[in-house]
Symmetry: C2
Subunit: 257 residues, 2 copies
């Protein structure tokens, strides 16, 4: 049976979600924990990668589980059905995980469900810290100047909608289609001088959220005019946009199906 | 000349503020940085200790500086005065400090100013996390159940005012006077299921804030009735109050002079 996990993690100590030759990945750490718990080999299918240092409130991933003690037999209307004892599984798997990874839910999904391809919407948050924050080191992206929030909001509206986001995609990306839809960008300030960007879209290119934040910051400090963001979009050229904001401020908030 | 520093730090990697035989203290780390920068021996006089794992937004401490390049000669009304070039000093000292300690301000104070004895008010914050938070590990105090906020607020009001807080003081404390004044206790909930306690007082006994939070949590989950807090106070007996809340959730917010 296919199980869908929702996972929260702090990315600071990992090479990223995806397994890599060198270093500890979030994916491999969870795979090992499940293997130990269920005594079977597993491979996790994530909703997408997160880079080294990027965090998640709600990453999702599936794996194929063979029947075991966490799955109970239920008889409903004469037919026997094997069901996941979700709460029990969540408690057990978290006991096998390090303190910076936490499985928040587990549920059975149909065999044709795919963590990545079935996703309808992804929501990211970026936590931009103005100035230094010795307490939240690794959990925010630090920027020197206080930007103008109104300018940022004006420019952000230009990015909402369906566009070719080539200018907002790392040159390292290997994709053929750069068209994505941004549903909304919410921007607000917290009491602790943090600017939170909440960005929802049908999918994101490599480094797209971080390049958007870096560019909007440049708008906020007057380096780029809001209306120039239109030109940056149509240029389809990565070098026209702003810098890639630090990974430490990025959070995969939610994957909606 | 006497210099007053305001310091923010993450206490996770330290044995606490105070120098100790074993392990790295916040105080010693800052003393070493100042010594390197000013090429003189210094001793910091803090507003008070913070325990291992406790954080600070606004700890304060003074040291005696001998004249050097960070202090400029100003001539005002005919008399020469040596002044601290505050912004320059702050920039320089932060370059010598690790990323989890940050000096936010430096200013000259009179020779009879004392970081601890001149303090009129101290404000602490406690960040109580309901459930697990893999991202904020070490920065919150984790508790299992969602407590009733109204019960907590009711009980907190009993503690406000001038009382003998013996019941809310670690047995390890070596003091003769247990009377302290709590000015206010503000309690509110954040979007991320965190309950923030802001407690202001003229001074606090050893572990006092953490024992108050532990006791108020017990009120919130129905283990202690709000009105019983009155009896706990008058018992003057540490064993009558609740558990000491974890150090990781405690922040020294502000010291007012």
């Amino acid at each position: 049976m296919k199980i869908l996990l929702t996972i929260s993690y702090k990315g600071t100590g990992y090479v990223g979600w995806q397994n890599q030759k060198n270093g500890k990945s979030v994916q491999k750490t969870i795979e090992k924990a499940i293997s130990k718990l269920l005594r079977q080999d597993v491979e996790l299918d994530g909703s997408g990668r997160t880079d080294a240092g990027v965090h998640a409130f709600g990453q999702t991933a599936t794996f194929e589980a063979t029947s075991n003690s966490f799955f109970s037999n239920f008889t409903s209307k004469g037919s026997k059905k094997i069901c996941l004892n979700s709460a029990r599984f969540v408690r057990a798997i978290n006991a096998y995980l390090p303190s910076d990874i936490y499985v928040t839910s587990a549920k059975e999904v149909s065999e044709n469900f795919h963590a990545r391809y079935s996703a309808k919407e992804k929501v990211y948050e970026y936590h931009l810290q103005v100035g230094k924050n010795p307490i939240l080191g690794g959990l925010v992206g630090e920027f020197n100047q206080m930007p103008n929030l109104e300018l940022i909001k004006e420019a952000a509206q230009i990015l909402v909608g369906t566009h070719d986001f080539s200018s907002f995609c790392s040159a390292k990306a290997e994709v053929s289609d750069y068209v994505r839809t941004i549903n909304y960008i919410k921007i607000y300030m917290t009491k602790a001088d943090q600017i939170i960007f909440e960005i929802s879209g049908n999918g994101f290119l490599y480094n797209m959220v971080r390049i958007i934040v870096g560019t909007l910051y440049d708008v906020g400090i007057g380096k780029i005019k809001p209306e120039e963001v239109k030109e940056i979009l149509s240029a389809k050229d990565r070098t026209k946009a702003g810098k890639t904001a630090p990974a430490s401020g990025l959070y995969l908030k939610k994957v909606k199906y």
